[in-house]
Symmetry: D2
């Protein structure tokens, strides 16, 4: 390809927090600066900084020592959609994408690396349509981004949830209780499934497999009759009974990132206590799942994804999402994945393994 070499890039992080963001930023910037002599800019607070022109040079030293640090040194924002931006409350959302492009152009920035979830990728794809060179890096603790088997941050969230479940295990067994832990997963049950298997939870409730309260109650009572006077239940925030609706503790209509104190854990604790006569308690880790230093696995994965994003850019790939698929790095067109969700297959290998070791999915 007779492509002009890209020499000036910008990077942004969008959406909810996710351990490993800094590791990606570091890998992108170090590779760009040291290996390819590029100049790198960091956009503050996701697309908001692109709109507001908060775009600063990012040096090699700026990204040194951030590999193990949770969060993002660039900041993020949840709501900023440059193609439909709410400038002030009560007004109509405006398309500020040209303003964004202008902010890049005046710095002669040739490519934008967008680290984010599905919402971030929808905007990235739209920018690509307008001619911007774009590369996406998938980010979500929920692991529900289509086209990639694994996203960084997921693993750290599973660790945090499993550690909490391990702790609940000892207290539940001493006190003859049912403990229900709600974990994140707005559309998919990946965290609940993995943390549930990893902790040896008795019941796993995920949105992909609507549960029946009677089944859960019967399972818990059967355990109790067998002398196992406690049970651990892990439930995705989006788990719902067959024919019923997902419990939303508090409607936060304008937020893509609502935290629900309560939600499924609280509701189910009440319902199960009544149905079984056994003391049931709910716990919700909330945003704790989004924080902390990434696990070694996530640091390695994030480093690889960031490095690969740069390598693809250099090789002239454009408008793609970097992915980890079938045990290796790759990429897929943003247009193919934007707006889609990867859910847990009802009969996946892991679901079957969980069932084989005695776990109930409430059906």
């Amino acid at each position: 390809m007779a492509k002009k070499k890209i020499k000036r890039i910008a990077v942004l992080t969008g959406g909810g927090d996710c351990p490993g963001l800094n590791a990606v930023i570091r890998a992108v910037a170090k590779t760009a600066i040291a290996k390819y002599q590029m100049k790198v800019w960091g956009v503050a607070d996701g697309y908001e900084g692109l709109i507001e022109d908060h775009i600063e040079p990012l040096s090699y030293d700026d990204v040194s020592g951030i590999l193990t640090v949770g969060g993002t040194i660039l900041g993020s924002s949840n709501k900023a959609n440059p193609f439909s931006y709410l400038v002030s409350p009560g007004t109509r959302p405006r398309d500020l994408s040209d303003q964004c492009l202008e902010n890049l152009r005046k710095r002669e920035i040739e490519a934008l690396i967008c680290i984010g979830g599905d919402g971030t990728m929808v905007s990235a794809a739209a920018f690509a349509k307008k001619g911007l060179v774009v590369m996406g890096v998938p980010k979500t603790i929920d692991n529900d981004i289509y086209g990639t088997d694994m996203t960084f941050g997921f693993h750290t969230a599973v660790n945090t949830a499993t550690e909490a479940l391990d702790k609940l295990h000892t207290t539940a067994s001493s006190h003859h209780r049912v403990m229900i832990m709600e974990v994140m997963g707005r559309y998919a049950g990946w965290i609940a499934l993995h943390a549930g298997v990893a902790s040896g939870s008795d019941v796993i409730l995920i949105p992909e497999i609507p549960y029946e309260l009677d089944c859960v109650a019967a399972y818990v009572k059967k355990r109790s009759q067998k002398g196992r006077r406690y049970s651990i239940i892990v439930a995705a925030e989006s788990a719902a009974p067959r024919g019923g609706k997902m419990v939303v503790h508090k409607e936060v209509a304008d937020s893509p990132d609502p935290i629900r104190l309560g939600g499924i854990a609280e509701v189910l604790a009440d319902e199960l206590s009544e149905a079984t006569g056994i003391s049931c308690r709910g716990v919700n880790l909330g945003h704790v799942q989004r924080g902390g230093s990434p696990t070694p696995f996530d640091r390695v994965l994030a480093t690889q994804l960031g490095h690969h994003a740069l390598e693809l850019l250099v090789r002239g790939v454009n408008n793609h999402l970097v992915v980890w698929k079938d045990g290796r790095l790759g990429s897929t067109p943003l247009s193919r994945i934007a707006g889609k969700i990867k859910t847990v297959p009802k009969n996946s290998e892991l679901v079957r393994a969980a069932k084989a070791v005695g776990t109930s999915f409430g059906v």
Copy 2:
């Protein structure tokens, strides 16, 4: 003293779960069996097992390998008061203490070691008045037992809370948020104070220092104006505004161990969001704080307390609580401490240190 040597003892664990219970049981049993050739019984599920005659011999092997395990191998119960026991709902509580004594006497058990909190000690003191040789070992993650500077389990709970606060820190700083974490502490703010100082929280709310919402809001806004667009608040579940009442999410009148999904964290998140215009989120770790393997510190403390309880018994001390006071082991009469609570002095060294490094107590 011409005391007959004690040769047969029983041990029970009462009240809510607490990391280190097994370490105490192990120290008591190993010291009794190996050093003093005693015979040891374990009472199942706290005073409930004493009433129901669930009392089984405990061997050296039974307590091997349990040092690092959370929970209690004996089981516990929260509600069982032998002097006022609710045999069945709708009936009047009965005094079953003689039945308990008979269950011990028929096994020729001469002394009872009660590991528990204030409720457990009140009953222990009452048994002592009826002539039973009793030794108490203080247990509470809340660290509010009168007469002892430190209780095992407290330290592990502070660790769990601090780890979660550390995680919230990274996500709050990336997303410009106020995070409010509710921690346990029904009557005292020890966990909130220690975890707050350990995590460098910006605001610490404890029941001993009633807060003013305006002060908290002003503090958060001032930080925001200085460019620190996030704040971490840690609140004891029993924290309350000046002149206001403690938030109780759900009245659980019959339970000494209610879990509140929500409570102060949820209420304060709403109030602060409104007062500051900044996005505030609440998290409540709930029973996760009661579980898990004890920290090395708690294992050492629990081992020492258990060992000391036995040594005191052997030396003829009776009706005492083993304590850690002024940097050393000791004991104090149960009658002197039962029914009292140790709260955080408003002007303690640690409160002053916290203020000096910039922490607000909301006043």
Copy 3:
């Protein structure tokens, strides 16, 4: 297939310790007992128990609660090769494989599940040749088993090594030192590579890429001249200089599992101190890398591998190794993998990513 259904199986664990062994045993036994109504035996201490007839029934309760526990409830042995067994020192090794088969036959055990490394699989393949139905489950913290992308235990070992490297990082940076950490990996550098990338180590030394001392020294000195007065080096125990030999601290000729206090870390610390004039210190975690509760990832992987082994047996597959390949479960004939080693490709994606973020491989 008109195969007779397998109804009686035995399971053994061979070779060095590895976090996740219990998780595999649990998955195998629970699946066999609860899903397929099989009877399960556990063989004590690997092939040694097969020779010595230490084979006991394994119940559902026996494997409950072991998921999170490190080690193996069955015990293991390193040296026992049933086809060449050293009955007593000074005598000639004997082939006791028929005795092993007889010990299985007299219990009517139809199939043997061997969880182990390459040595264990060589014997398993030899038993298969003699007609025994055999299924292998790959186990090694070194991750060097051929035919599988990932083995359980590897991940936990990488975590342990990375946590230690994170700790060395802070002390090295405060004291202007070079810290060299030796990690396990007898034939392959997987742990060093992953822990090195995860910790942001400055230099990674693996046997697949022979290093040059001059390069390492130059790299360290260059960092020092740039004002970074410390460096972290992670070295596989089997790393060796170009043209030189692997450092073996102590010849333990008869042991497949030698621990070397010292080895590469110690030797390199001396050499580098002299070459650079900077204070260099070595650390070797030794067997700490083999212990502890498996990470959530390893618990999930081990559960899946154990479950899949059973499913394959039920479907009539024989003489295979269960593998995790290209992001999914599968299996491969034992004959195809026994005696082979999976090493780090010199130009693998991860090696290139490590180089791109500034890591030296000493060449």
Copy 4:
């Protein structure tokens, strides 16, 4: 007292690394700046920076966010004694203390806060004699500073050692081995004692109680005969046999901070293997014990010590060491503690508790 108020202070950190140093620096600086409107300087690399005039202003922002970070932002040095400083190899050490005082005077710095171990305090006391206002804050993971019951960093080191011992436990029990872990403690066995009790180690070897190899061997063999085919031994680096000498792997005569790969663990592993015929392995965590984020306990202790040092200065106390004694903060004249060591009393409560639960001290 009609003392002039101190308005300008400097702080330095000396000696080996220790988790919590940054927490002290932060508490000192924040208290000084925000509560007392002082100006604060940081001295680079301990006394070396005082000699070399590397003294820079320290702002409130400089110390924000360092509470949880291991190491010291100021840097440290092990060898620099201003009263006997080796300017260049081969020359005679010189007294550069006047040069140090001049470097402080020219900035009008009125007081120096020295955070360090015994060596640091000896110099601090000598500066005090020359008229400098000095306040010492005790620092050592070894916990052997005279006059204080507890030093920050000790607790974190015990945690690190205990976690490693917990991991060795699982692998030792699966493989029927004796594992010997060497921990730090150059003159005292505090880490070995606490980590040994916390991990339930079978044998604890400390310099205060010279061991007999025969006793250790007999203990291990007795356990083996009882069917417990493994033992865990924790040994302070300075532990020595009765009548024998401490093992020093490598003489590093000029270094107050030698790391010994090998040492007692390696030597004892050889001797015990021979004496018992059981496979014995040694591990030495080395500098890993000095690193990492401080535990919540150490963060709280360090914060309190730093704050108290400032408060004492303000109240006119001079030439003292801040201490934690009998469960509370206090201080003691530097002249009373410099040059002394706090060792483990042979018959301390904790030693007796350890013995009572079955631990051997090798005698």
